[in-house]
């Protein structure tokens, strides 16, 4: 080690690091801080002027902005809740079934259930829009097969259902990710632990609840934070299925679509980079709080269960 520190400057380390650090800094980190900075300015008569937190005050209190902002935030929270209570339990259940020993065709199930995850939002959004369309009638037909035809309504077109329907479509698309990660976590549980449980007579469901579930909690934590970041950054599915106005009547508007309209403009609304940056800053803060909460509170507690 002493020899290493006496050496002259090791250029090759710089050469290895430089391209990645340069691209990453120039395209990702600097624009991120640039955006945070832009939120403190406003262009007044074509001149950028420092206005402190005025843009945030506008966002929270000006009736033109605040209704949309709180609405988008509320919708986004609901979008996240649906993912947490539907996507993750289904993912855990599928993974638990897949990892049961001596079950055949698991490779087939795994491959098939993961297929929606690789498709683009454009395909998923449109395919579901067609299927749920009352004009085509695939959804009422299928529901008719199980005798539930009378339950059908055009969910995507109704204010009270549209957001939940879209959240469930997103769940349908992404359930493969929790399934795979939890499947991996279940496979990594040492056989001795399972054998010890079996010797003590703990099998089947109680084995899952008492032995396996506590051991896969760290994986569930990672999935939750990935879902959180993904949901508060979502845009594509809503934009494809409902357009930039996130209809009907803004009922499916989330922060991503709100940011797009504010920043880029849509129809009569003129794009405003400063308000866009303000919304992006709020999204950044929300995600940052979520990630910090996970890193400092959740992950520390979960660590104790690891081997």
């Amino acid at each position: 080690m002493a020899a290493a520190s006496k050496k002259p400057f090791r250029w090759h380390i710089g050469v290895f690091l430089a391209p990645a650090v340069l691209v990453y800094t120039a395209i990702m980190i600097l624009p991120l801080f640039g955006t945070l900075q832009l939120s403190l300015f406003r262009s007044i008569e074509q001149v950028q002027t420092f206005v402190g937190f005025d843009n945030f005050r506008t966002l929270f209190t000006d009736p033109n902005w605040s209704f949309n902002f709180w609405n988008a935030l509320k919708n986004n929270v609901w979008f996240f809740i649906i993912h947490m209570v539907v996507q993750n339990p289904i993912g855990v259940m599928l993974a638990a079934l897949l990892s049961s020993p001596k079950l055949r065709f698991t490779a087939f199930y795994r491959t098939a259930i993961f297929i929606p995850t690789i498709l683009s939002f454009v395909i998923v959004g449109f395919a579901w829009k067609l299927i749920l369309s009352p004009i085509w009638g695939v959804a009422p037909n299928v529901m008719g097969l199980v005798g539930l035809k009378s339950w059908f309504t055009p969910w995507l077109g109704k204010e009270e259902y549209a957001l939940t329907a879209l959240s469930l479509i997103s769940v349908w698309q992404f359930v493969g990710i929790p399934m795979m990660l939890i499947y991996a976590a279940l496979l990594s549980i040492p056989d001795e632990v399972i054998e010890a449980a079996e010797c003590d007579g703990i099998t089947g469901w109680s084995q899952f609840w008492k032995i396996k579930l506590p051991l896969i909690l760290p994986a569930i934590g990672i999935i939750s934070i990935l879902t959180f970041v993904g949901n508060f950054n979502a845009f594509d599915l809503i934009y494809t299925a409902q357009g930039a106005l996130a209809g009907p009547n803004y009922s499916t508007d989330i922060l991503g679509t709100f940011l797009y309209r504010a920043f880029f403009g849509f129809q009569l609304q003129v794009g405003d980079p400063h308000m866009g940056a303000t919304i992006a800053t709020m999204m950044f803060l929300i995600i940052l709080i979520g990630v910090c909460f996970y890193l400092f509170l959740v992950q520390r507690r979960l660590r104790r269960y690891q081997f």
Binding site: R10, H12, I13, F16, L17, P19, A20, V21, V23, Y24, I27, M28, L30, P31, F33, G34, T35, L38, L94, L98, K102, L103, T111, I113, F114, I115, P116, I118, S120, F121, V122, I123, V124, F126, A127, W128, L130, I131, W136, V138, V142, W172, V175, M180, L181, A184, T203, A219, I222, V229, N233, F235, D236, F263, P273, A277, A280, I287, L288, V291
Partner: protein
């Protein structure tokens, strides 16, 4: 032995649940693809039937190929994805090697700095990225997309690859050093070939979000000449809302290449996820 009696119903139950979910996962894709080969009348009258000789019709596909510039869009997507992937893998592997191989001041800090991007999405910087691209005249070029996707892919690539590079034997590298190989030769000739499986995993993880992204093509490169397949399909679908044959055909065309690639690489992808690289 109560275990033997209860295991058969349990196996059947497991298969029933998994099969039901598989049907739910595949049904929309299936419905879209079979209906794309049918005549307009048959699409509406028997949406759940496979195409029969009587109802078989390729009118949707002829519309799509006649209208949209799908070959150009496809080519754009391919260029953007392949070039970004190349840079992510090359730059990512180089940085991962530097972080995992050498001890230098600021090593941990640099690792943390590069890992920031795993959690904070690059999308939040869009406003300033657009300004940057406007200032450098890169708006509506594929270069803009390639730069953004390279930056987007690097954090996770570096994170995964440096985990793998820590596993490459020190003896091998030191043997190379004794033989007088330069650090660059050691990296390109000895280490890179050994981490090829990890590179494949990173490639699949990097590729899917790039190919499927709608946000950056929409904002940075919406011109006709630079549209990607995802954006092109989105606009095409919006224009042909009432032409169901064309929509179903366009959706099928968008699904099939990804599906084929996935079926070829699915073992690699699943092995990558389950090998603990992402834990």
């Amino acid at each position: 032995m109560s275990k033997a009696t209860s295991s058969l119903p349990r196996t059947i139950g497991a298969h029933a649940i998994l099969l039901t979910y598989t049907v739910i996962a595949l049904f929309p894709v299936f419905v879209v693809v079979i209906n794309s080969f049918k005549s307009r009348q048959a699409i509406f009258q028997q949406p759940l039937m496979p195409p029969m000789p009587k109802t078989f019709d390729l009118v949707g596909y002829t519309t799509v190929f006649g209208q949209g510039d799908f070959f150009l869009y496809f080519q754009n997507s391919l260029i953007v994805t392949v070039v970004s992937l190349f840079f992510v893998l090359l730059f990512g592997a180089m940085a991962a090697f530097a972080l995992s191989e050498y001890r230098f001041r600021g090593n941990t800090l640099m690792g943390l700095y590069l890992a920031l991007g795993i959690m904070i999405p690059i999308r939040l910087g869009t406003v300033a990225i657009l300004q940057l691209m406007v200032a450098s005249g890169l708006v509506n070029t594929l270069t803009a997309l390639i730069l953004v996707y390279t930056a987007q892919g690097l954090p996770l690539a570096i994170f995964i690859l440096s985990e793998f590079m820590k596993g490459v034997s020190d003896d091998l590298k030191n043997a190379g050093r004794i033989d007088g190989l330069s650090e660059y030769t050691i990296f390109f000739r000895l280490v890179l070939p050994l981490v090829r499986p990890a590179m494949a995993t990173v490639a699949v993880f990097t590729m899917i979000p790039i190919w499927n992204d709608l946000w950056f093509p929409l904002i940075l490169a919406p011109s006709e000449a630079t549209k990607t397949v995802t954006l092109g399909a989105q606009i095409f679908l919006g224009q042909f809302v009432t032409n169901w044959n064309a929509i179903l055909a366009a959706l099928s065309l968008a699904i099939l290449p990804v599906l084929i690639l996935y079926l070829i690489f699915s073992r690699q992808l699943i092995r990558g996820i389950t090998s603990g690289a992402v834990k």
